[in-house]
């Protein structure tokens, strides 16, 4: 084969050691390719990050299917509880908007359906958006839901559609993280689903806890006036604060 190239490649790189080597020449590492080394921290960090991702994917590929599923379901769940405080607030925003179970289920379903779509699309690489764009918009969606809760007595009939479009946005948020993290190709769909299932569990747990708490504590008071407005104001202000913070 190409002898010339080989000499270039292998040059003097052969490093040979011996445990007691009396011969100093054997310890010299001579490089025939005295190329420039680059010690720029940013480049090295970027390369390291990419390598870590490759390593995680290799590790995952070597795991059993059930272990992988477990890890992704758990990751999806943890993305809501305890780490996804922004998503928790959004879901609580939906919770406080209505007393009717039917309306709540409708909204949550729309939200879930929407974020599943964008999560899948983005993870498959069809849609791409920077986290720096998606994140402030997610915070704004929290503000919007809170404002709507505060200003309107009843949810509008457009509400499920608004929630649906916000859901698309939140899905992109999930996806940016998931792609940064990396999904192994061979189990792509099932792991994506697993992550999504985890997210749904997380969401439902938030709703369930909220429901139980509200029921126990405020059983006898008139729920709407006592809680809807102040909770929504609080949620809205938090969202607003995050939004401003994310822009700075």
């Amino acid at each position: 084969m190409g002898l010339a190239k080989k000499i270039l490649f292998f040059g003097l790189f052969f490093i040979s050691f011996s445990s007691y080597s009396h011969n100093p020449e054997k310890l010299v590492i001579s490089e025939i390719e005295r190329g420039q080394l680059n010690f720029e921290n940013e480049t090295i960090a970027a390369e390291y990050g990419a390598a870590l991702k490759r390593q995680r994917i290799r590790r995952l590929s070597a795991m059993s299917w059930s272990k992988k599923m477990y890890i992704f379901i758990k990751a999806g769940f943890e993305h809501i509880i305890p780490e996804g405080i922004d998503h928790i607030l959004f879901v609580l925003g939906l919770f406080f908007s209505t007393l009717k179970l039917r309306s709540l289920i409708l909204q949550v379903t729309a939200f879930t359906f929407a974020h599943s779509i964008t999560l899948a699309l983005a993870a498959l690489g069809f849609v791409k958006l920077q986290l720096s764009v998606v994140e402030p918009l997610i915070f704004l969606s929290i503000v919007w839901v809170a404002v709507e809760n505060t200003l309107f007595e009843k949810t509008t009939k457009w509400r499920p559609f608004v929630v649906f479009s916000f859901g698309l946005l939140h899905g992109l948020g999930f996806a940016t993280l998931l792609t940064q993290y990396g999904l192994p190709k061979d189990n792509f769909i099932s792991l994506l689903l697993a992550f999504n299932v985890g997210v749904e569990f997380g969401q439902l747990s938030v709703l369930l806890m909220a429901f139980i708490l509200v029921r126990i504590i405020f059983m006898k008071t008139k729920y709407k006036n006592q809680l809807k407005i102040p909770a929504s104001v609080l949620i809205g202000l938090t969202g607003l604060y995050w939004f401003i913070e994310s822009l700075i």
């Binding site: 084969m1 190409g2 002898l3 010339a4 080989k6 000499i7 270039l8 490649f9 292998f10 040059g11 003097l12 790189f13 052969f14 490093i15 040979s16 050691f17 011996s18 445990s19 007691y20 080597s21 009396h22 011969n23 100093p24 020449e25 310890l27 010299v28 590492i29 001579s30 490089e31 025939i32 390719e33 005295r34 190329g35 080394l37 680059n38 010690f39 720029e40 480049t43 090295i44 390369e47 390598a51 870590l52 490759r54 390593q55 995680r56 290799r58 590790r59 070597a62 795991m63 890890i71 758990k74 990751a75 943890e78 780490e83 996804g84 986290l131 994140e135 993280l177 940064q180 993290y181």
Partner: protein, 716 residues
């Protein structure tokens, strides 16, 4: 920021490595490594740990030597030679980690340490090898060897140990010793200067082009040149200098910049300019001229050889090699030279025909070679590199080399995830033998990155030895393959795949080795032999049977088509006249520089290289692979009188592989096991030529090599 928490949560779950149980307050080199298979606890080792460990390692080493010398008993193989094998454990422990990481995952601190350590270490080893009391003990055992009952391996160890002392001047008188020390230190200064000059000369020339000068260049080459110009702009200190590079394109005599230009550019004048800048490096009569340094070094080497009792430097060097005398080396080179030169002349004629057909009115010159050979290649050996890559994903090729060694020797590989490596791209495998027993740890670090040296190499983090119980090695391969883009797999060129097999061949030498004494393990043999195990393994990657077993398209899963394999193998014969001629010319030049007697060396003329090349009839269209003034291998590396090694090993590997061809089965069980037992397991426990003959049943012949390279007349 909180988004990162999710990622870290997931990472933790997936990485769950075992934490090392080292005491964080104590230097990790001073503790026993309880990691699985004693893989170095990379995450615990900090830059600051090296120097103290080196110092203590050297101290301990000297103390151990002292104990051996002070032993009141008469010197025996066991209390001296074998004890020597046991010395320097701490030093070796730190040195292996340091030397590897300083090349494969380095940082400014390690680079600085390397400069600091190099003189310290050579002074340290001098103390041992120039220790008279120690040598006297060795000599006594040597003189008594006929009356001692030693195994073959022990005899060889005794011989090698003694030789190291002798070759460092142990048999000389004091004034001679002083002379040697002076010569060595002058040589080391000169060789550093040679290297620095070469670097300055290579960086000293730039071809700065305008947009209108880019005729023929592909987009990739243009953008690389434009990138080079903008880098120069960033580095420029004055506005004036910045202006010089603005909107320009820069090419340099670095091969990675020059070769694409010479291949693609249709501007003959510019090709000539760049090519000449390359071949004139160190030969410009300026303050970075290397002519005088080369001559001085040749003189000093001849002088040293004389003091050591050898006729020439080449005799002195070759004493340790498989080919023992300059005559043997010249013999080999000249045998190959004739068919190579003949083939090169055919190639010139082929290129001239293309130029004539284009209506060009010039004679093909050295700077036209790349451009016109590419045209011939397209016409005669039409092979699209890009069509092959999809079949050669890195994982496929790794699987291919694993399968090959599995079929040859029954080895199995299991990737390990619960041990921390020094970089997430450095993957760790456990290698087990056919009976399931642990054989070695293999680390494969394949992607290029900015803090890794260029090139490809094999090394080890732990050696093999059976002296005090069975100790199995930790072997590493480092390459510079392109890292994958995004989520796509890394796709290799066929050349890359060959490199991977080559390095893995070295790794096999380090992994299969099974010797008693660590200093004779694995790749410790002579330079013109150690490329045999690596180059030999390359032959399997070109076997259609093997290629088909792993080369499947990364998207479609389709196996590589026969037609593509055929083209691929045919392309291997392309340009071989040129490649071999330039290489052999450099090898002969190396030998000429180092077969001068001390008297001849006093009157080296300025025409030394020219005369040397005229003597063998090198044609004007080809320059030696390295001209003297930039022949770093021999003037600032360790390859003086050794550049021929590559082709010598090629003779061996072609002849050895021919054995498999003769029986018509590249996995013939009997031959495979013989190969393992006689070559890969033996290290340097016997003379290299004996090992070869044990395997092949006879001495090597050059015909198989000529056939493989198309130099047997079949491609004309």
């Amino acid at each position: 920021m909180k988004k990162l928490i999710l990622i870290s949560g997931l990472i933790l779950m997936i990485s769950c490595q075992e934490k090392s149980k080292l005491d964080p307050n104590v230097n990790p080199f001073f503790q026993d490594w309880t990691t699985p298979y004693e893989v170095p606890p990379f995450m615990d080792i900090k830059n600051e740990d090296y120097m103290p460990a080196f110092k203590k390692g050297m101290e301990e080493n000297l103390a151990e030597i002292e104990v051996i010398i002070k032993n009141a008993e008469a010197p025996t193989f066991a209390n001296t030679i074998e004890e020597l094998e046991r010395t320097g454990k701490l030093l070796s422990k730190v040195q292996r980690v340091f030397s590897n990481l300083a090349s494969s995952n380095t940082n400014p601190k390690l680079q600085e340490l390397q400069r600091e350590l190099s003189p310290m270490l050579s002074a340290h080893y001098d103390k041992i090898v120039l220790n008279e009391d120690l040598f006297n003990r060795v000599e006594e055992i040597w003189n008594n060897r006929e009356n001692t009952d030693l195994t073959k391996e022990q005899q060889k160890l005794l011989k090698d140990t003694r030789k190291q002392f002798v070759r460092s001047g142990a048999l000389l008188n004091d004034s001679q010793k002083k002379q040697i020390t002076e010569i060595n230190s002058k040589l080391s200064e000169l060789s550093t200067e040679f290297g620095q000059n070469l670097l300055a000369e290579t960086n000293g020339f730039e071809l700065i082009l305008n947009k209108s000068d880019l005729d023929g260049l592909s987009d990739a080459v243009v953008s690389a040149a434009s990138e080079a110009a903008s880098q120069k702009m960033d580095q420029a200190e004055s506005e004036e200098e910045k202006e010089k590079y603005k909107d320009k394109y820069v090419f340099t005599p670095h091969r990675t910049s020059m070769y694409p230009f010479l291949t693609e550019s249709t501007r003959r004048d510019l090709r000539e300019e760049l090519y000449n800048s390359y071949v004139m490096r160190g030969d410009n009569g300026n303050e970075t001229d290397n002519n005088d340094i080369a001559a001085q070094m040749a003189k000093l080497r001849a002088e040293r050889a004389n003091i050591m009792g050898h006729k020439t430097h080449a005799d002195f060097i070759l004493e340790e090699n498989m080919l023992k005398t300059p005559d043997e080396v010249y013999d080999l080179l000249i045998q190959l030279w004739k068919p190579a030169l003949k083939r090169a002349k055919v190639e010139v004629a082929d290129m001239q025909a293309v130029a004539d057909l284009e209506g060009k009115d010039f004679k093909i010159a050295a700077w036209d070679w790349w451009h016109y050979s590419e045209k011939v290649r397209k016409e005669k050996y039409d092979l699209d590199e890009a069509a092959i890559r999809p079949y050669l994903s890195l994982d496929n090729v790794i699987q291919g080399v694993f399968n090959t060694t599995n079929k040859l020797w029954g080895l199995n590989f299991r990737e390990i995830f619960d041990i921390d490596s020094y970089h997430p791209d450095a993957r760790i495998w456990e290698v087990t033998d056919k009976d399931g027993s642990h054989l070695a740890i293999f680390i494969g670090d394949y992607f290029t990155r900015s803090n890794k040296r260029g090139g490809a190499w094999m090394s080890s983090f732990k050696g093999q030895s059976n002296l005090d119980g069975r100790q199995r090695p930790i072997v590493v391969n480092v390459c510079n393959f392109p890292a994958p883009v995004g989520d796509n797999p890394s796709l290799l060129s066929f050349e890359n795949a060959i490199t991977l097999f080559h390095e893995f061949g070295h790794a096999m030498h380090g992994i299969l080795t099974d010797v008693t004494y660590g200093s004779m393990a694995g790749t410790s043999g002579p330079r013109d032999f150690i490329e045999l195990p690596s180059q030999l393994l390359e032959h399997w990657v070109s076997e259609p049977e093997v290629l088909k077993s792993f080369a499947t398209h990364y998207e479609t899963g389709e196996t590589i088509p026969d037609e593509l394999i055929e083209k691929l193998l045919k392309a291997g014969k392309f340009n071989q006249g040129f490649i071999n001629t330039e290489y052999l010319a450099a090898s002969l030049l190396d030998m000429d520089w180092h077969t001068m007697s001390e008297v001849d060396a006093q009157k080296i003329s300025n025409n030394f290289e020219k005369n040397s090349m005229n003597k063998i009839g090198l044609i004007d269209e080809i320059a030696p692979r390295y001209r003297s003034t930039y022949f770093a291998h021999i003037f600032s590396g360790g390859y003086s009188s050794g550049y021929y090694s590559y082709v010598h090993a090629a003779v061996l590997d072609s002849d050895a592989f021919e054995a498999f061809k003769e029986v018509g089965n590249v996995f013939d069980p009997e031959l495979s096991s013989k190969l393992r037992k006689e070559i890969y397991e033996k290290g340097s426990t016997e003379e290299a030529m004996d090992l070869y003959v044990n395997f092949r049943g006879r001495k090597p012949i050059i015909e198989p090599l000529l056939k493989i390279r198309g130099l047997d007349g079949s491609s004309d």
